[in-house]
C-alpha cells in the first residue's frame, strides 16, 4: 500500500478507531481515554496533512490517490483531491485543537465516554465526507454524521436537550431521505456518479433527461441545504445550540454545517458542472444564498443569547460559500472555498469563547457581558479578533474571502447585487458583533470582575484558553498569509481555476 493510500485510510479510519477505543475504555478511566483521544486526533491531523501533500504533488499532473472497495454497482471510494483535502485539513486539524478544549470543558460532565465516542465518529464522518470519491460514499458518511450528531445534541438529557435533538432530526432525517432518493435516481440515469473537477455528468444528459436532472437537483439541494442551514431549512441550527460548547464549536460551526455546503460544492461543481448552468439551476441557488446571508444577519441582530447570535451568524456566513459556488466564476468559487477554511477558524474561536465564558463566569447572554474584557482579557481578545475577521476587516482571514467573492461576482457578471449583499452583510455583521465588543471592553464591569482574573490563576482552565488563542491566531495567519502558495486562499484559487474549465 502506498503512503498516500495509507494516509487516506488513516485519516478516515482513525477517528472511528478512536471512537471504538473510547467506548471500550468506558466512563471511569479519564486519563487513558483522554490520551487515546489526543493521540488519535494528532494522528488524524498528520494524516490529513499527508493527504494534502499528496494532492499538492499531483495537482495538475496525474490522477489523485484513491482506494475503493466494491458495493453494488458503485462501491466505496476515497480520494485525496484538492477540494476534498481543504475540508479534510480544516476538520482534522481543528479536531486536535477541539479535543484539548473539550477535555477541559467536559472535565466535570457526566457520560464523557459517550460524548467523546460520538464526537470522534462525527469527525471521522466529516473527514470521510471530505475525501469521498463518489456520491454513494459521500452519502453514507453524510448520514453517519447525521446520526452521530444526535446523541451529542441531546447529550445532557434534559427535556430542552431532547427537544433540540428532536428538532434536529425532524429536519435532518427527511433531508437524508430526499438526498438518498436523489442520489439513487442520479446513479440510475447516469451510472455510478464519481466526483471530478468540472463536472462528471455526461453533458448529453442535459438534453435527454432535463426534467429528471432538475428534480434530482432540487432533492439534492434540499438534502444538503438542511446541513448547510439554507433558508428556509435552517431552523434546527439555533435549536441545536443546547449542545455542549465543543459540539457547537467543531460540529455546528465546522464539521456538520460545512459538510452541507461542501456537498453543495461537490454536486454543483463536480457532478453537475456545466449542466447546472445549461439548465439554469445556479441562479436560484445564488439567490437563495444571497437571501439567507441577509436573513441570517438580521436575525442575529435580535438575539440576546450569545450562542444563538453566533448560530444565526453561522447561517449567514455559510451562505457565502454557497453563493461563491453558485456564482461559478473561478474567483467566486475560490472565495467560497477559502471562506470554508477562514470562517471555520474564526467561528470556532467564537464558540470556544462562548463555552469558556459560560464555564468561567456563567454568562450566557450578551447583556451579561458588561466589562467581561477585564475579567477574561485573553479570551475576549481572541473573540474580538475573530469578530473583526468575520466583519471583513483586513488583514484577518474574512477579508480575503469576501474580496474574492466580490471580484468573482464581477467576473460572473452578477456584480451589482452580490456586492450589495456583501456590503449590507458586512454592515450587519458589524452591527451584531460590535455591541458585544463594546460591552466587553468599554462598559463598566461588575464589581468582582473589575480586578481582572483571580490572582494565582489564569482567566480559566488553560486547556480551554490556549485552544482559543490558537484558533484566533490561525484566523489571523490565514488572512495575513493569504498570498502564500500553501495558504487556503491560494489553494482555493487554483481549485477555482480547474472547476470551471468551460
Amino acid at each position: 500500500m502506498s503512503w498516500e493510500l495509507t494516509a487516506l485510510l488513516v485519516a478516515v479510519g482513525t477517528p472511528f478507531a478512536v471512537a471504538a477505543a473510547v467506548f471500550a475504555i468506558g466512563e471511569r478511566r479519564h486519563t487513558l481515554r483522554g490520551a487515546t483521544n489526543l493521540a488519535g486526533a494528532a494522528l488524524t491531523a498528520g494524516a490529513v496533512v499527508a493527504c494534502a501533500v499528496s494532492a499538492w504533488q499531483r495537482f495538475g499532473g496525474g490522477p489523485f490517490a484513491e482506494g475503493s472497495i466494491a458495493l453494488l454497482d458503485i462501491g466505496f471510494g476515497l480520494r485525496a483531491d484538492p477540494l476534498g483535502v481543504v475540508f479534510a485539513v480544516v476538520a482534522g486539524v481543528l479536531w486536535l485543537v477541539t479535543t484539548v478544549y473539550a477535555i477541559g470543558y467536559m472535565s466535570h460532565a457526566s457520560d464523557r465516554a459517550r460524548f467523546f465516542g460520538f464526537f470522534s465518529i462525527c469527525v471521522g464522518s466529516a473527514i470521510g465526507i471530505a475525501l469521498s470519491a463518489n456520491l454513494l460514499t459521500f452519502f453514507v458518511f453524510y448520514e453517519t454524521l447525521t446520526l452521530a450528531t444526535y446523541p451529542l445534541v441531546a447529550h445532557s438529557g434534559t427535556p430542552a436537550a431532547l427537544r433540540g435533538g428532536r428538532t434536529y432530526l425532524t429536519y435532518a432525517l427527511p433531508a437524508g431521505a430526499a438526498l438518498a432518493v436523489g442520489v439513487i435516481w442520479l446513479n440510475l440515469i447516469a451510472g455510478p456518479v464519481e466526483f471530478a473537477a468540472g463536472g462528471s455528468l455526461d453533458p448529453a444528459l442535459a438534453s435527454t433527461h432535463p426534467g429528471s436532472l432538475i428534480v434530482i437537483f432540487a432533492l439534492l439541494m434540499f438534502g444538503l441545504g438542511v446541513k448547510a442551514a439554507l433558508f428556509p431549512v435552517h431552523g434546527w441550527l439555533p435549536a441545536a445550540m443546547v449542545a455542549p460548547a465543543p459540539v457547537s464549536s467543531l460540529l455546528h460551526a465546522v464539521a456538520v454545517v460545512k459538510a452541507g455546503v461542501f456537498g453543495i460544492a461537490r454536486v454543483v461543481l463536480e457532478v453537475y458542472g456545466p449542466i447546472a448552468h445549461e439548465l439554469d439551476l445556479t441562479p436560484y441557488l445564488a439567490a437563495l444564498a444571497g437571501f439567507t446571508i441577509i436573513y441570517g444577519s438580521v436575525r442575529a441582530l435580535a438575539q440576546d443569547d450569545f450562542k444563538k447570535r453566533l448560530a444565526f451568524s453561522t447561517i449567514a456566513q455559510l451562505s457565502y460559500i454557497t453563493l461563491g459556488v453558485a456564482l461559478a466564476s473561478p474567483i467566486a468559487i475560490a472565495g467560497g472555498i477559502a471562506h470554508l477554511a477562514h470562517h471555520a477558524a474564526m467561528k470556532i474561536t467564537m464558540f470556544f469563547t462562548a463555552g469558556a465564558v459560560a464555564e468561567e463566569v456563567k454568562a450566557y447572554r450578551v447583556s451579561e457581558f458588561d466589562g467581561l474584557g477585564r475579567r477574561m482579557p485573553l479570551t475576549m481578545g481572541a473573540f474580538s479578533l475573530a469578530a473583526l475577521g468575520i466583519v471583513g476587516v483586513p488583514p484577518i482571514a474574512g477579508f480575503a474571502s469576501k474580496w474574492f467573492l466580490g471580484i468573482g461576482a464581477l467576473d460572473a457578471g452578477e456584480g451589482a447585487w452580490v456586492i450589495a449583499v456583501l456590503g449590507v452583510s458586512s454592515v450587519l455583521n458589524a452591527a451584531y458583533f460590535f455591541p458585544i465588543m463594546h460591552r466587553a471592553w468599554f462598559r463598566a464591569p461588575k464589581a468582582e470582575w473589575a480586578a481582572g482574573p483571580p490572582p494565582g490563576s489564569a482567566e480559566g482552565d488553560l486547556r480551554m484558553v490556549v485552544p482559543i488563542l490558537v484558533t484566533a491566531l490561525i484566523g489571523l495567519v490565514l488572512g495575513i498569509a493569504a498570498g502564500a502558495d500553501v495558504s487556503p486562499a491560494s489553494w482555493a484559487l487554483r481549485i477555482g481555476m480547474t472547476e470551471v474549465p468551460w
Binding site: 472497495i69 466494491a70 453494488l72 428532536r166 438518498a180 440510475l188
Partner: protein, 496 residues
C-alpha cells in the same frame, strides 16, 4: 474426510442440529447447553462452506436416498437458500451464546435447548428443501418448535399467545397442504424442479397457488393476517422472540418467494403481485404506527417486525416486470431479509436484557438506559439504524436497491413507500433512543430496581449481532453476489 464432507454438505448442515436436538433432550439439563453450543459452532464452517460451494458451482443439489426428484426428495441450495442459511447460522450462534446466560435456571428451562435445536434444524431443512410436501413437514416442524418455545415461560400471557400462534400456524399449514394437493393434481409432481417445468396457468394451478399463498401469508404474518404475531413475539422469552422475528417468519416467506419468483412468476395469477405489494405497504404503515403507540419495548419491537415484513412483500410487484429492476429488487429484498434478521434479533435480545435486569420493559421506565446499560443501549440504537434503513447498514443497502428498482421500473410509488417507511421507523426508534439518552427515573419507582449486571456474554452477543447488521452495509458485497448466484430467471437480469 474433507471430500466426504463436501459431498454431503447440504445434508450435514441439517444433520448437525438435528442430531444435537434429541441428544440435548436425552442428556438433559447440564449437558444440553454444551451440546447446543457445540452444534452452533459446528454449523458455522458448514454454512460457510455451503455458501462457498454454491458460489463456486452456481448451486448444489443433493439426492436423499439416492433416488433423485421427483421420486425422491432433493436438497437444493442456490444463492437464496445459502444466504438465508448463512443468516440463520450467524443469528443462531448469537442467540445460543445469549441464551447460555439468559436461561440460568437450568431445570425450569431444560426443554429450551432441544426445542431450539429442533427449530434450528428445521429452518435449515426448510431452506434446503426441494420438495413442496417436504416443505409442509418442515413448516410444521418450525411451527411446533416455535409455539412450544413461545409458551416456555408458562406465564399466562405467553400461553395465550402460544395458543393463538398455534391455531394460526396449523390453519396456515392446512391451507398450504391443500395447495400442495392441488399442485400434485394439476402438475403431477411435488418436486419443485419438476413442477417448475410443468407449471401452467389453469384454474387448478391458480387455485393451488392462491391457497398456498394464503397459508403462507398467515404464517409470515402479513398484514392483515398479522394478529397473532405481536403477542407471540413479545411474550416469548427474549432469545425466542429474537429467533421468531429474525428467522421463523422468513421461513414461510422463503417458500412464497420460491413459488412466485422461482416456480412461477407473478403473472401466473394476474393482480397477485400488486395485491401482495399493497398489503406489504399497508403492513409498513400499520406496523409502524402501532409501534409508535406501544408502551412496552417488546411490543414495540414486535410491531416493528410487522412493519419490516411489509418491505419483504414489496419484492413481488418490483420483480414482476423482470429485467434490471427485478434483479435490483431481488438483491434488495433478500438483503433486507438478511439485515433485518440480524438487527431484529439484536433488538429483541437487548429488550431481553432490559427485562432481565429491571423486571419490566415499560418504555417510560427506561430513561437513562445508556448510562445504566451502555452496551445494550448501544446495540439497540445500532440495530435501529438498520431498521430505519440509514447508512452505513445492511438496511440501507436493501432500501437503496428497492428504491432503485422502483424508479427503474417507473413504479415510483413503491419508492415513496420505502422512504416513508424509513421515516416512520425513525419516529419509533428515536422515541426509545431519546429516552435512553435522557434522565433516569422518569417513572420513579422502577428506576431504582436493578437486578445488577447481566452476564457480559448476553450484552456482547447482542452488540455483535447489531454490528453485523451494520457491517453488511459496508462489507456486504460478497452477500450481494451470493444472493445473485443461480437466481431464478425472472430476476437474473442485468444485475449489479
Amino acid at each position: 474426510m474433507a471430500e466426504w464432507v463436501t459431498t454431503h454438505l447440504p445434508a450435514l448442515v441439517i444433520l448437525v442440529p438435528l442430531t444435537a436436538a434429541p441428544l440435548a433432550f436425552l442428556l438433559g439439563g447440564t449437558l444440553a447447553r454444551p451440546i447446543a453450543l457445540l452444534s452452533a459452532l459446528l454449523s458455522q464452517p458448514l454454512a460457510l462452506a455451503l455458501a462457498f460451494t454454491v458460489s463456486a458451482e452456481g448451486g448444489v443439489r443433493y439426492e436423499i436416498g439416492g433416488w433423485g426428484g421427483p421420486l425422491g426428495i432433493d436438497l437444493v441450495a442456490d444463492g437464496l437458500a445459502a444466504t438465508l442459511i448463512l443468516v440463520a447460522t450467524v443469528v443462531g450462534l448469537g442467540v445460543t451464546v445469549y441464551a447460555w446466560g439468559y436461561f440460568a435456571d437450568r431445570e425450569r428451562y431444560r426443554y429450551f435447548w432441544p426445542l431450539w435445536l429442533f427449530l434450528w434444524a428445521s429452518l435449515y431443512a426448510l431452506f434446503l428443501s426441494g420438495d413442496l410436501f417436504n416443505l409442509y413437514v418442515c413448516l410444521e416442524l418450525v411451527s411446533m418448535a416455535a409455539v412450544a418455545l413461545v409458551g416456555l415461560s408458562l406465564r399466562r400471557d405467553a400461553l395465550l399467545a402460544a395458543m393463538r400462534y398455534m391455531l394460526a400456524a396449523i390453519l396456515g399449514s392446512l391451507f398450504y397442504l391443500l395447495g400442495v394437493a392441488l399442485v400434485y393434481a394439476a402438475f403431477g409432481s411435488i418436486d419443485i424442479a419438476t413442477v417448475r417445468e410443468a407449471v401452467r396457468a389453469d384454474v387448478t394451478g391458480q387455485a393451488a397457488f392462491a391457497l398456498m399463498t394464503v397459508g403462507l401469508m398467515l404464517k409470515t404474518a402479513l398484514f392483515p393476517l398479522h394478529f397473532w404475531l405481536p403477542p407471540a413475539h413479545s411474550n416469548a422469552p427474549s432469545p425466542v422472540s429474537a429467533v421468531l422475528s429474525a428467522l421463523v417468519v422468513k421461513g414461510s416467506f422463503y417458500i412464497l418467494v420460491r413459488m412466485w419468483v422461482d416456480v412461477a412468476d407473478p403473472s401466473f395469477v394476474p393482480g397477485s403481485a400488486a395485491l401482495l405489494g399493497v398489503l406489504g405497504a399497508s403492513a409498513i404503515v400499520w406496523g409502524s404506527v402501532q409501534a409508535m403507540r406501544q408502551e412496552r419495548l417488546k411490543m414495540l419491537v414486535a410491531y416493528s417486525t410487522v412493519a419490516q415484513i411489509g418491505y419483504l412483500f414489496l419484492l413481488f410487484p418490483l420483480v414482476a416486470g423482470g429485467g434490471a429492476a427485478a434483479a435490483d429488487a431481488w438483491v434488495g429484498g433478500m438483503f433486507h431479509a438478511a439485515s433485518h434478521a440480524l438487527a431484529k434479533a439484536a433488538m429483541f435480545l437487548a429488550a431481553g436484557t432490559v427485562l432481565a435486569r429491571f423486571g419490566h420493559d415499560r418504555i417510560a421506565g427506561l430513561g437513562g438506559l445508556s448510562r445504566r446499560a451502555p452496551v445494550t443501549a448501544m446495540a439497540f440504537a445500532l440495530a435501529g439504524v438498520t431498521m430505519m434503513g440509514l447508512p452505513p447498514s445492511g438496511g440501507f443497502v436493501a432500501k437503496w436497491q428497492m428504491i432503485r428498482a422502483a424508479l427503474e421500473s417507473g413504479a415510483w410509488w413503491w419508492a415513496v413507500v420505502v422512504v416513508a417507511g424509513g421515516l416512520l421507523a425513525a419516529v419509533y426508534i428515536f422515541r426509545v433512543v431519546a429516552l435512553f439518552l435522557g434522565r433516569e427515573g422518569a417513572e420513579g419507582e422502577d428506576a431504582d430496581v436493578d437486578a445488577g449486571r447481566s452476564p457480559a456474554t448476553m450484552e456482547w452477543a447482542t452488540l455483535a449481532l447489531a454490528l453485523a447488521a451494520l457491517a453488511l452495509g459496508v462489507l456486504g458485497q460478497p452477500l450481494v453476489e451470493l444472493i445473485g448466484v443461480g437466481a431464478p430467471a425472472l430476476v437474473a437480469g442485468v444485475g449489479p
